[in-house]
């Protein structure tokens, strides 16, 4: 016998995941336009791998394959991981990262809804710890690159590691702005000198700041579509900006403007698409603020005093650990439990 409610909103996990993917499309388009089509190869490979692994894992667990493949969560994980990787990373790096994301981080922890750690960030963390060299060879912005790869050439490089005749790796790759900043600071250059380098744009990195802007716009769409709430992205950005601002004020030559931090690396992608993963994030409004702010502060500290150029992945994973504790201690007041006259 059916019980109330007998009606429901037209919604599903698949619809939510599709909207998340749709929100990423403008940034991906800009990525292709500014950095070449290699990212499409990475995205496709990660997606295919994720779907195959998801299907295998679901089958091994004795669950119906179709609804779980259709939920779209594996695709979202694949895209988020692919967008965190260098677009010209070798194929095995992508496959390995996707394996750790889907099989280890997600299904070994109980599958959709049960994983403690953000799958895409687990995949990323495994790769950056294990293969730091491959993980820091990024595509150069086309404006600065000595040579361009078309789609086929990019695929060939990713799968075989061989470049067309006459094109060297140096011509198509470069360090990221965050990487450059880190190495140049170690060489005792000041921030003012470093930001004169061509890889730096007006706020963040040359070209990449456009992609970052489109991640921001995609994120705002997710907020308007009520897929995410504002709490985590705002707290994340505020945590990063305030911490960065404090350092910046004390020594502007050594600590770059907090706006640069917002506009580079995985911050916008992380704030709107990764930290907002509902499964691994805090759930209460206050908890989301703490969770987001924690990621912001940790990201800055890892970038500035830690050993890695970008800290979003580790910051997210560290805050994932704290989620049960945060949720437990930030339960909102239930109707009828508030203090008398509190709302007046």
């Amino acid at each position: 016998m059916q019980t109330s409610p007998y009606i429901a909103e037209q919604t599903s996990v698949s619809i939510i995941m599709l909207k998340v993917l749709a929100a990423l499309v403008p940034a991906i388009a800009a990525y292709v336009w500014l950095f070449g089509p290699a990212i499409l190869v990475t995205l496709t490979l990660a997606s295919a791998t994720a779907l195959v692994l998801e299907a295998a894992a679901v089958k091994l667990r004795g669950l119906p394959i179709k609804p779980f493949l259709m939920d779209g969560s594996a695709l979202v994980t694949a895209w988020l991981l692919a967008l965190s990787l260098p677009p010209i990373a070798p194929w095995w790096l992508i496959v390995l990262g996707t394996f750790f994301a889907i099989v280890v981080a997600k299904h070994l922890y109980g599958g959709l809804g049960n994983n403690l750690f953000n799958p895409a960030m687990v995949g990323y963390a495994v790769l950056i710890i294990s293969f730091p060299v491959q993980m820091t060879q990024w595509s150069a912005p086309l404006l600065l690159a000595g040579a361009h790869l078309d789609l086929l050439q990019a695929a060939q490089y990713i799968f075989t590691g061989s470049l067309p005749n006459g094109i060297g790796l140096d011509a198509i790759s470069s360090a990221t702005p965050l990487d450059t900043l880190r190495t140049q600071l170690q060489l005792e250059h000041t921030v003012r000198e470093i930001t004169q380098l061509p890889i730096f744009g007006s706020i963040g990195g040359s070209g990449s700041e456009i992609v970052v802007l489109l991640f921001l716009l995609g994120g705002i769409y997710l907020w308007l579509a009520r897929i995410i709430t504002w709490h985590i992205p705002v707290a994340f950005m505020a945590g990063l900006w305030i911490t960065g601002g404090l350092f910046h004020i004390t020594d502007p030559d050594r600590y770059i403007s907090p706006w640069f931090h917002l506009a580079t690396g995985g911050v916008m992608l992380g704030a709107f698409f990764i930290a907002t993963d509902p499964v691994t994030g805090a759930t209460t409004p206050k908890g989301k603020l703490i969770f987001g702010a924690g990621i912001g502060v940790l990201t800055y500290l890892i970038r500035t005093v830690g050993g890695y150029p970008d800290g979003v992945a580790f910051a997210v994973l560290l805050m994932n650990i704290a989620v049960p504790l945060i949720d437990t201690y930030t339960q909102p007041a239930v109707y009828g439990h508030k203090k008398k006259g509190a709302s007046e």
Partner: protein, 563 residues
């Protein structure tokens, strides 16, 4: 905080009412217009009326008629029993044909004791007269209302006489009439307000008098402009200040707690009553019923029911309590062919009826004919992704995703820690869940398990007390018997002179021994049950198996029914 202006008139207060918001809520399609196109129609006498003795919250009424009795319209047929109870009455004149279990509107689908009446067609009233309520002992008036069967018609059917007691403060400052009617499809309150606004306020006048209220507010969702207009006209002429307030349309804005929050900004304390914060809330239908009772002397024997959904002519009817659903839906042009069942109430909180022979009761605001097209079954549930849409939709500010988690894990202690019992089962969480999890069902399950455990515990406590008392009694009796025996034994030598003294001494000794044996036996009987500690492994195995079977049964019972 608004300042209280000394000497300020009621009118000045009417001008500046700030509305508040409750968190959450949803906006389902309304479907109300389909049943508001036609005026309220009087449903004709059915062939038979089936009147359940338990139509209200609290103890069922006790039947005071017998099979074969002739009854008159408005005659009491069930007497209120206990404090939280009201009487039930014959809705028309006729013959009592049965007092037996009959299918009723209950989520369990179980039957309940009902009085069946076959109408004689005369519809002859019992002697009745209006009440001079202003010159009456208040408790006497409340008792009369209890005997007239007045209970909340908004759905909870709580006995009204209890809520009409102003309590120790002799005053409930704010009286709210609830015309929210937030559930989709239902329009009985809307039509009642449009057509009988004056009578509703006459009922409110009685409430205002009984509760010694200062303010009378009528909250109506702003999707009912005709009802708002009708009540404003009536309010202008009713002779006491009434404020008719349009509140935003959002489900469950017509829930008493939510409406109180919107109109006053105050929250009913958890586990408390609205009178704790100086507010009494009544459904507009209850106010109308009270008017009929006080000003006409008529007990509650009919109500307005919306018949809608998969029927040809959706409409509101004034229906006698006890009318079978089958006859009622026939009045609405009968149901369409693909009708799959009936819901009593709305699509958010209504209950599925076991069949169409179920009678209309005081709680029946709507009969909703279902079809797979109108109300498609939910797709299979997916895992919870903790998206917290449920938390954002919850009007009680709960964390439904946590409650779901704990209920699923049968961690009932935790569900209580997360305020399970503040859940009003409005269904918003299930409505928005992208994983299609029947969340409310999990909460109902958790609540019923907790209730069952409480009941078991109470029963066990009672049994233990009884057992201890019995042990004491047996021990005392044995002691007394032994003492008597010993006494008789020692008295024997004196009485029977010929008996040898050895015999007497032996008998006394025997009696003493017997008493000691009995004492020891009694002591042995009173030790704690033996089957809880130091059990052999095979016994433990057996217990584990029984427990597993019980868990399995509970699991099966808990499984969602959509597959």
């Amino acid at each position: 905080m608004e300042m209280e202006i000394p000497g300020g008139t009621n009118e000045s207060r009417l001008m500046n009412r700030t509305l508040y918001e409750f968190n959450g809520g949803v906006h389902p399609d309304e479907h109300k217009q389909v049943s508001t196109a036609r005026p309220i129609a009087l449903a004709p006498l059915p062939k038979q009326l089936v009147i359940p003795l338990s139509q209200h919250i609290g103890q069922a009424a006790k039947a005071i008629v017998s099979v074969g009795d002739q009854v008159l319209k408005g005659q009491r047929i069930g007497q209120a029993e206990g404090y939280v109870s009201v009487s039930v009455h014959a809705p028309t004149s006729g013959t009592v044909t049965a007092i037996a279990a009959h299918a009723v509107a209950h989520p369990s689908g179980l039957s309940d004791l009902c009085v069946s009446i076959v109408p004689d067609g005369a519809d002859q009233w019992v002697e009745h007269a209006s009440l001079d309520y202003r010159n009456m002992e208040p408790s006497h008036l409340r008792n009369l209302l209890r005997d007239m069967g007045i209970a909340g018609l908004g759905g909870a059917v709580f006995p009204s006489f209890i809520k009409l007691n102003p309590g120790a403060a002799q005053k409930v400052p704010t009286l709210i009439l609830n015309g929210g009617e937030c559930e989709p499809w239902i329009s009985c309150d809307d039509m009642l307000m449009r057509e009988r606004a004056v009578e509703i306020l006459q009922g409110a006048a009685v409430m205002r008098f009984m509760l010694n209220s200062d303010d009378v507010l009528v909250g109506i969702e702003d999707n009912k402009p005709e009802a708002i207009a009708a009540l404003r006209v009536a309010a202008a002429e009713c002779g006491f200040p009434v404020e008719v307030i349009a509140v935003p349309t959002v489900y469950p804005g017509g829930g008493a707690k939510q409406l109180i929050k919107v109109l006053t900004g105050k929250e009913v304390p958890s586990g408390g009553r609205s009178t704790d914060i100086g507010v009494a809330t009544f459904n507009v239908g209850t106010a109308y019923a009270l008017h009929r009772a006080v000003n006409h002397g008529e007990p509650l024997i009919s109500r307005i029911v919306t018949v809608t959904g998969n029927v040809h002519r959706p409409q509101n009817f004034e229906v006698l309590i006890g009318m079978p659903v089958a006859e009622l839906v026939r009045l609405a042009g009968s149901v369409k062919d693909d009708t799959s069942g009936y819901v009593m109430g709305g699509p958010m909180m209504g209950i599925t009826l076991a069949g169409d022979d179920v009678p209309v009761v005081k709680a029946t605001n709507c009969i909703l004919a279902q079809s797979p097209g109108l109300f498609p079954p939910a797709p299979p549930a997916m895992p919870c992704i903790r998206c917290t849409r449920c938390a954002q939709a919850c009007p009680a500010d709960l964390q439904p995703q946590e409650l779901y988690w704990f209920a699923r894990a049968k961690n009932f202690g935790k569900t209580q820690e997360y305020n399970l019992f503040d859940c009003i089962e409005c269904g918003c969480c299930s409505y928005v869940c992208p994983s299609h999890i029947p969340l409310v069902q999990y909460y109902r399950y958790a609540k019923s398990e907790i209730w069952a455990k409480e009941k078991d515990k109470k029963a066990a406590d009672q049994a233990r007390e009884r057992h201890e008392f019995r042990q004491l009694r047996i021990e005392r009796e044995k002691r007394e018997r032994a003492a008597k025996l010993a006494q008789r034994a020692s008295a024997k030598p004196a009485e029977v002179a010929s008996g040898s003294p050895e015999d007497a001494a032996a008998a006394a000794k025997k009696a003493t021994i017997q008493a000691a044996i009995e004492r020891a036996k009694a002591k042995k009987d009173s030790v704690t049950p033996k089957n809880v500690t130091d059990l052999p492994p095979e016994k433990l195995q057996e217990i584990a198996e029984i427990e597993a079977r019980r868990a399995k049964i509970r699991e099966i019972a808990q499984q969602p029914v959509d597959e």
